[in-house]
Amino acid sequence: MKEKLTSFWKKNGTRSVVASLLSILIGLLTGSLVILIMGLTTPSLGLKSAWEGIRLAFFGLFSTGRNAAGQLSFGFNPTSVGNMLFRATPVILTGLSVAMANKAGLFNIGAAGQYLAGTCATLFIALSIPSSAVSPALIWLLAFLGGMLAGALWGCVPGLLKALLNINEVIACIMTNWIAANVVTWLFDISNLKNVAESTKSGYIYKTTFNNVATSKLGLDKLFPGSQVNGGILVAIVLAVVVYIIMSRTTFGYELKACGANRHAARYAGIRDKRNIVLSMAIAGALAGAGGSLYYLAGNTEFFWNTYQSLPAAGFNGIAVALLAVNNPLGVIFTGCFMSMLNIAGLQIKNLTGYNEYITDVIIAVIVYLSAFSLIIKLWLGERKKKPTPAEAKTTEEKKEAQK
């Protein structure tokens, strides 16, 4: 049993999971510390409010509001769980996007721009094809595929620049992000899709339900009553599984990983590195585009079109999701849900205490910061275990030999 435990501990995967859990814990503790400091220094908040804020930061998903005595109550909250799944959809997909590119050795900080490109194409298609002539299901499909295609094309730009001209993909992605933000604003500004029917809202595009297009609920709304959840989350999970299969079970995936590990060695082995770089950025872009597409096809979300000064947070949270999952496509499903769980916790904090939802963004940022040196944490975890006895060392040596 003990041997099993030690070998389990020694696995790289285990250490990655432990390192991620540790990052999450430190992130939450840092958030709690900020809450505590603000509680103690702000007269209107106080220690009691800080304690409530900390409990909500950890368990916000299970908050059911306040009971008659004014105390926080906790329990299973189907609305929150459903909303968590709904909000997880875009970040799972942008997380997949970042993870996919990372496997090929590229840091896709451009997920935000690809997300916007996908959003833009989707909304144009979903709102301009009249649902009186074409069936809404077909429009939905076209809009979704159009969003993925737009994201893929937008992802190709930094990919091509990297492959052909060897321009750093981080810089190219940052530039394409802001170009996307401006182009999207421009396109919507000259379009006739701005919501003028509801005059109380300015700066928004019509909901897709305006054209009777919306993602099917697939019965999930019965499971989680009162929430925004729809079939999009299932699409995201399916895509995650597809990416997992591509990456770990196909030649193409192997080539991508080889390019990521060492581009020059891969080329020496006869792998077309340039093609693979462009393709991996295109797939990454398609995934991020799908994220934007699914979020705005939900039918209950509205797009703020005058967005040239800001980029969607989903793009950057995707980085956190991918890093926390150590670029594992299946892990991304769980870390994506974790991120949206934090998001829900933030809403509860805003609704129930004197604090606000931005504290969860602080927690996410701390987690990203920690994952920048997760390698060190992993090493440190490895060193903490006592050094193997000579006999053990010998057996591991033998194992390695056998593996060869």
């Binding site: 603000m38 530039m175 421009w186 950057f316 920048a372």
Partner: protein, 343 residues
Amino acid sequence: MSFLIRQTLIYAVPLMIVALAGIFSERSGIINLALEGIMIFGAFVGVLFVRIVQQAGWFNAAYQNGNWIALQGFVLLTMLVAAILGSLFSLLLAFAAINLKADQTIGGTALNMLAPALVLFLIRILVNQNTLQMETGGAAGWFMVKKSMLGYAKDQSMGFLGSTFLDKVYFATYFCLLVFLVLSVILYKTRFGLRMRSCGENPQAAASLGINVLKMRYTGVCISGALAGMGGYVYALTTANCSANGDVAGFGFLALAVMIFGNWKPLNVALGALLFGLFKCVAASFSTLDINGDGVFALAEAGISTHFYRLLPYLITLIVLAFTSKSSRAPKAEGIPYDKSTR
């Protein structure tokens, strides 16, 4: 015309100083993607400091008596505070990148996410809204230099140069230009500057000559943080009426673009900043822009969309990168953690 020059300077100078921040960090070998985040933090700290001082009433007498020189001192003090705290904030990046040999891109991205989150969290608690403003009055009333202060009467002409560079301007802009000049000279004409640049090109060689690479890189990142923090506050002061809302509209990234556009050299960066500042200014006010004063709004009539001017800087940077990627000279060792044992 003088309006155009004045406005361009207002946009160009923060760009210039933040791009210089990028140069200092990258020349010492650390990629500083966190410029945007540090600017956001610096803007918040600066505005908060102004509020606190106004609450304490230190400069209220000076304001009432119209003692504008004392108020400019107030601005300088605020810039100093923003610089110090910006520098402290950038230590987070320095620690991760230098001591823990972390991935600098991810570290910078983390700071970019942390700054707006933390700032908005604090602003909401402090003032219960999304924007932190001055306690009383506005930036123009407190900090702007106007011609009446320089002894001119309302209807008296200041001449072209006078009305361009002395009327309705912020002293902070000129102070930033001075800082830019001094620091550029330090980086390129002194022994310290040469040593710092050597750490970004070949740290092992630098170390073999007795230069403490880690210390140099810490210095580079700290100067970078100070400049970016200061630039963030100046941006908030001159373009946002001295208010902070956890957002500088991508200015930090634009500064990064300017830095690359200028090929990591101060003079080229200054020119790039002026060019990009011009685009920003045109995008912001092109419909009412009367360049030569003949009553014709030439740019508005040219029929080019304001969105086009807005995206131009980013597009130009990409195109310039595409054409100059062969001759583009990024510091050789940037982004690579320094390891003594690899030669």
